[in-house]
């Protein structure tokens, strides 16, 4: 929700990033304020996940230009764990499995790390068990997912729910949800998006990365951006997503395509 006394949470200017020397992000500009929901759409390979992982601090990506301010601080001064503690959260497009690390142990460690960072009380295993079960109810997750290894043997949809469960536990200032809708059937999509909506408030912000407008029926964006070739080439309101649904992506940003020498 766009509102008057919102604060700037994220300010991305001219962000460039490369992987193995190949530039993928070629000057991304984006401003996100508290209370807002932004959707970033675009075809496969346009750089959406790269953008998300650069924000989270994945070491495979080298930032080659531009800047990112998170609540006024240079995001690139922070290690990935410091970003998480400052309130950046990425729900991964492909959450990895960590066999042998129990999900409940992992969730509690993450939760308690952030609690102590925020000067709040940590929870012991029993207290945490109650707390996490309540959050799981919100996402209609079976509690036996706590006893399994992190994402171990989870279906695609279960992994996505586990990501949003982490969001619910960590209460980030900025949540970037990378294709959280993929792998979810229609019921699961309704449950997960309902959970996300409950977590959204006037002090935090959400970036939804998706290439279908389906999810946007459930989480209403304030802005829709189209990414193409590593840049945001068009920004509009939620009606842009419907346009994209009917017309595809080919027409977007063509008129703005930069000359090869740029």
């Amino acid at each position: 929700m766009i509102h008057q006394d919102s604060k700037t949470i994220l300010e991305v200017s001219g962000l460039r990033a490369a992987v193995d020397g190949v530039e993928i992000l070629k000057g991304v500009d984006l401003i996100v304020k508290s209370g807002e929901v932004h959707a970033i759409m675009g075809t496969n390979g346009s750089g959406k996940s790269t953008f998300a992982k650069v924000l989270a601090g994945h070491s495979a990506y080298q930032v080659t230009g531009g800047s990112v301010l998170f609540e006024g601080r240079n995001l690139f001064d922070l290690e990935p764990e410091e970003r998480a503690r400052a309130g950046v959260f990425l729900a991964f497009q492909y959450p990895i499995e960590i066999p042998g690390v129990s999900n409940s142990h992992f969730l509690r460690l993450a939760y308690n790390t952030l609690q102590s960072q925020r000067g709040k009380d940590e929870l012991d295993p029993l207290e945490f068990e109650d707390f996490v079960r309540e959050k799981m109810r919100l996402l209609e997750m079976n509690p036996n997912f706590l006893d399994r290894g992190v994402n171990e043997g989870f279906s695609g949809g279960e992994k996505k729910r586990n990501e949003i469960l982490q969001m619910a536990l960590l209460e980030p200032r900025l949540a970037i949800l990378d294709e959280t809708d993929s792998g979810l059937d229609i019921d699961a999509l309704r449950i997960v998006t309902n959970g996300v909506n409950k977590l959204a408030n006037k002090d935090n912000a959400i970036i939804l990365v998706t290439h279908y407008q389906r999810m946007l029926n459930y989480i209403e964006p304030d802005y829709v951006h189209v990414m193409r070739g590593g840049r945001i080439v068009k920004t509009g309101g939620k009606e842009l997503a419907l346009d994209l649904e009917t017309r595809g992506y080919d027409w977007v940003g063509v008129e703005r395509r930069a000359p090869a020498s740029a």
Partner: protein, 438 residues
């Protein structure tokens, strides 16, 4: 001891100095066994890295150290050993520097399990000679194994477990071997016999109240009778300056099952040889191991699984985690004899290097002489997965916490297989502590 033994090697000489003369036994076969071992020990030399079986394990620090037989054992109070106790184990045998401590032990007769013998070998050997003779010294061959020969030459005491036919012992048997004296050499000898159809869980647990150098040279023999089952947990948490040499030899009879989890955490240099012979049809063994070492520790595990008869199954998962400048060695031999058709064997060696200076040498060896078999083996040596580390850090865990958690998980896969909950918990805490670096 005979002169030939003393003259053979200056190292052995030092090991033997002051060794109390062992009383001859009234059992002729027992005296003969010792005498044979003395004979072999006298001929065998201390292995060097030129010996294929000891390629990576340099024993020269052992030679630079002098050892004496343990003096009269320190009078330990139960309070001193209480933190080693395992709640589930109603039967416990405690040895301090190799000496049996009846006042710290709870042998089987106090439980009233009829026919079950759990006591120290020295006190029971004469009365149970008939049951013991077919097994003692029959599996742990010492013809080309100096340490087994020395142990047999000094054969005097250790744990004796005889589970009678068709008995299922519902409490684990805890054999607790505590080292207390610096520079002491001990040669504990254990014998575990599960008669036909019986079932038992035994924990062989080497601990220390002593951070100085000492040597434990242990031999354990295990006979699993027809349709019997033994679950054997071996934990080596010796002191950080200790030398630990362990030989374990297992013989499996028809349709029997041997399940083993061994965990090596301690000692400056440790070597564990586990030789399992699937000696009758339908036998099955599952052998898992973990070595978790750091600093300058060396942990060498050699295992051999001998499919001597058809229709047997073996499973093995061995893991090593080496940090700092530690060096872990695994050599796992699986042998399938010519008539061992329909063998089903799978072996896996998984290794984690936590430091560029650490080293892991792993060598699975498969020797197949039968044609209708299903055998797989594999080995990996790797580091922590960077995607897993990133995932954890993206949730706020520090790099150190992420690394600790993943290391712990790697080791916990083995520890989880220990069927004694309190021990499992304790070891998991130890692994957490040991992997924790701040």
């Amino acid at each position: 001891m005979s002169m030939s033994l003393v003259n053979s090697n200056s190292y052995l000489e030092s090991l033997l100095q002051g060794q109390p003369r062992l009383q001859p036994s009234p059992l002729a076969w027992f005296n003969q066994l010792r005498a044979n071992a003395v004979d072999h020990a006298g001929r065998l030399k201390l292995p060097t890295t030129r010996d294929e079986e000891w390629r990576f394990t340099d024993l020269s620090p052992l030679v630079r150290q002098s050892f004496q037989p343990a003096r009269t054992a320190a009078a330990l109070q139960s309070a001193d050993v209480e933190h080693f106790s395992v709640a589930e184990a109603a039967i416990r045998l405690v040895f301090v520097d190799g000496k049996y401590m009846p006042e710290l032990s709870t042998p089987a007769e106090r439980l009233g399990n009829r026919g079950l013998i759990v006591t120290n070998l020295a006190s029971a050997i004469t009365a149970n000679a008939e049951a013991i003779e077919p097994h003692l010294g029959q599996y742990a061959r010492f013809e080309d194994n100096l340490f087994a020969a020395l142990n047999t030459a000094f054969l005097h005491d250790g744990a004796l477990v005889i589970v009678p036919r068709d008995a299922a012992i519902d409490t684990p048997v805890h054999v607790l071997l505590i080292a207390t004296q610096p520079e002491a050499a001990s040669h504990p000898r254990c014998l575990f016999i599960a008669e036909a159809g019986s079932e038992v869980t035994i924990l062989e647990d080497y601990v220390s109240l002593n951070e100085a150098a000492y040597i434990t040279n242990a031999v354990t023999e295990i006979a699993v009778g027809d349709n019997a089952r033994i679950s054997h947990i071996r934990v080596q948490r010796d002191g950080i300056e200790a030398f630990h040499i362990g030989n374990c030899a297992v013989s499996l009879a028809h349709a029997s099952r041997y399940r083993s989890v061994s965990v090596a955490l301690g000692a400056r240099i440790s070597r564990y040889d586990l030789n399992t012979v699937l000696d009758a049809e339908g036998a099955e063994c599952v052998i898992d191991g973990l070595a978790l070492i750091h600093d300058h520790q060396l942990a060498d595990t050699h295992s051999s699984i001998d499919h001597a008869k058809p229709n047997c199954t073996s499973r093995q998962l061995h893991k090593c985690i080496a940090d700092d400048s530690a060096h872990a060695v695994f050599n796992g031999k699986v042998m399938v004899r010519p008539d061992a058709q329909n063998t089903d064997s799978a072996q896996s060696s998984r290794n984690l290097l936590l430091n560029a200076k650490a080293r892991i040498d792993t060598k699975p060896q498969l020797e197949i002489f039968a044609n209708d078999v299903k055998c797989t083996h594999g080995a990996t040596v790797g580091q922590l997965d960077s995607e897993e580390l990133f995932y954890l850090k993206s949730r706020g865990l520090s790099g150190v916490a992420a690394r600790n958690l993943l290391t712990y998980a790697f080791g916990a896969e083995i520890i989880d297989r220990i069927p004694i909950a309190s021990l499992k918990y304790r070891l998991e805490q130890t692994v957490l502590e040991q992997t924790k670096k701040n």
